[in-house]
């Protein structure tokens, strides 16, 4: 029996079937314990040429995925049977035009039917989550959604939410790279940079 087979047998008959421990501590702790053991094994794999180690690595990764699925099953989170369903009744994509005092003026595009004419609206800053206030500036994109929520008792709640689009912040490296590219472009076009 190869070391790969032995490892497979060990994993299929040993650690994962430690049900007593599993029930005592719960699935997440079991998962974390097994994950740690797998990680230790991966960290200690001999580094040499040949496919055996690669196979072993893949086997361990598969085992990790199997562990994960097993934990998800035991954590009983059936995403196919939510007690509450949420339907989108209407959805707009908006662009902020101006922000003055506590008022935001924006242009809305109907996402249910983009052929509809764009609309101009004004609403208060208090309609926006404080978490997004830092993003509110001319040109910012947001999604305005009207939703209908139906719970397990068929109670219906309609509400709307605004969420601003989040884009990655520019890093110093990004800015330096952009500046270098701009300089190169300027040089190509005009043969030198004006100071």
């Amino acid at each position: 029996m190869s070391s790969l087979d032995m490892l497979a047998v060990e994993h299929s008959t040993g650690i994962s079937e430690d049900w007593e421990w599993f029930e005592e501590r719960g699935p997440k702790e079991q998962f974390l314990r097994e994950l740690k053991m797998l990680e230790d094994r991966l960290a200690n794999l001999p580094i040499s040429e040949g496919s055996a180690e690669v196979d072993l690595n893949q086997l361990l990764m598969k085992e990790m995925e199997r562990l994960w699925e097993s934990w998800r099953e035991h954590s009983l989170k059936p995403d196919s049977r939510p007690e509450t369903t949420v339907d989108i009744l209407k959805e707009w994509e908006g662009v902020v035009l101006t922000v003055s005092n506590d008022d935001v003026q924006a242009r809305l595009t109907d996402m249910n039917d983009p052929a509809n004419q764009e609309e101009l609206v004004t609403f208060g800053l208090d309609a926006i989550s404080p978490q997004d206030h830092e993003l509110v500036e001319p040109g910012a994109v947001f999604y305005w959604t009207v939703l209908r929520e139906t719970d397990a008792f068929e109670n219906v709640r309609n509400y709307s939410q605004i969420r601003f689009r989040r884009l990655p912040a520019w890093s110093r490296g990004d800015l330096e790279r952009a500046e270098t590219e701009a300089e190169q472009l300027h040089e190509e076009l005009f043969g030198g940079r004006d100071e």
Partner: protein
């Protein structure tokens, strides 16, 4: 047919060579990819796992997981499909140099059905039992996967997986509509200087709406073609 939409989720899966350790909730705050409150929720979540080979966390609308081979993000509410799109596009924009080979844009629509008869009607239409009757006793469809030409020309293929579920009281169908992209097939665009991760980021932003609305119409179209009750 009186099917109702029981759940609607969106997933984006990227396969490549990731370093999970960097994708901690704090990284998302640093790059303005999640709200501060969401980062706090993720950090306090019971599902938070931070390890060298696996990072997993959840917020009120997001499930996120990275292993060395796979990045996976899922929005559990339709109102957050666009934020999901922006999030993964943003991640790939920041982690622009990550080697990536595959991406799947996925919608999963779970339809509840009125009765087991309705379920059998769908099953009999899609996979006629006469084909199997001589070879198998009491055949039944466990799942069905069909591949076709995708709605976006940059995608490699579209796969639809249909799985019935349920017991005597509660029956339904899960439609998984997945549009797949292979970096290998986007080589020409990559040769222009774009990295594969950067290209996937742009594709997510460009294609998501079309892929998503295509999934809606595909499911509606299939269900429309199922014969109704016999009079």
């Amino acid at each position: 047919m009186a099917e109702t939409l029981k759940a609607d989720t969106a997933k984006i899966v990227v396969v490549g060579d990731f370093n999970p350790a960097i994708f901690q909730p704090e990284w998302f705050r640093r790059h303005s990819l999640l709200r501060d409150a969401e980062v706090a929720a993720a950090t306090e979540s019971d599902d938070l796992i931070l390890s060298r080979r696996l990072v997993n966390f959840e917020t009120d609308w997001l499930e996120f997981q990275v292993t060395p081979q796979r990045l996976f993000a899922k929005a559990t509410r339709p109102s957050h499909f666009r934020p999901l799109r922006d999030l993964v596009a943003g991640i790939l924009q920041v982690a622009n140099d990550t080697p990536v080979v595959f991406m799947g844009l996925v919608r999963i629509l779970i339809r509840g059905l009125d009765s087991r008869e309705e379920w059998h009607r769908i099953e009999d239409t899609l996979v006629p039992k006469e084909m199997w009757a001589d070879s198998l006793e009491d055949p039944g469809m466990l799942s069905l996967e069909i591949a076709g030409v995708p709605p976006s020309e940059r995608a490699t293929r579209e796969v639809v997986k249909l799985t019935p579920f349920g017991d005597d009281e509660d029956v339904g169908l899960s439609f998984e509509v997945r549009v797949e992209y292979l970096a290998e097939e986007l080589k020409q665009a990559i040769e222009t200087g774009e990295t594969a991760a950067g290209l996937f980021s742009k594709i997510i932003t460009d294609d998501w709406s079309e892929v998503s609305s295509h999934a809606d119409s595909l499911v509606a179209d299939i269900l429309d073609k199922i014969p109704g009750d016999e009079p």
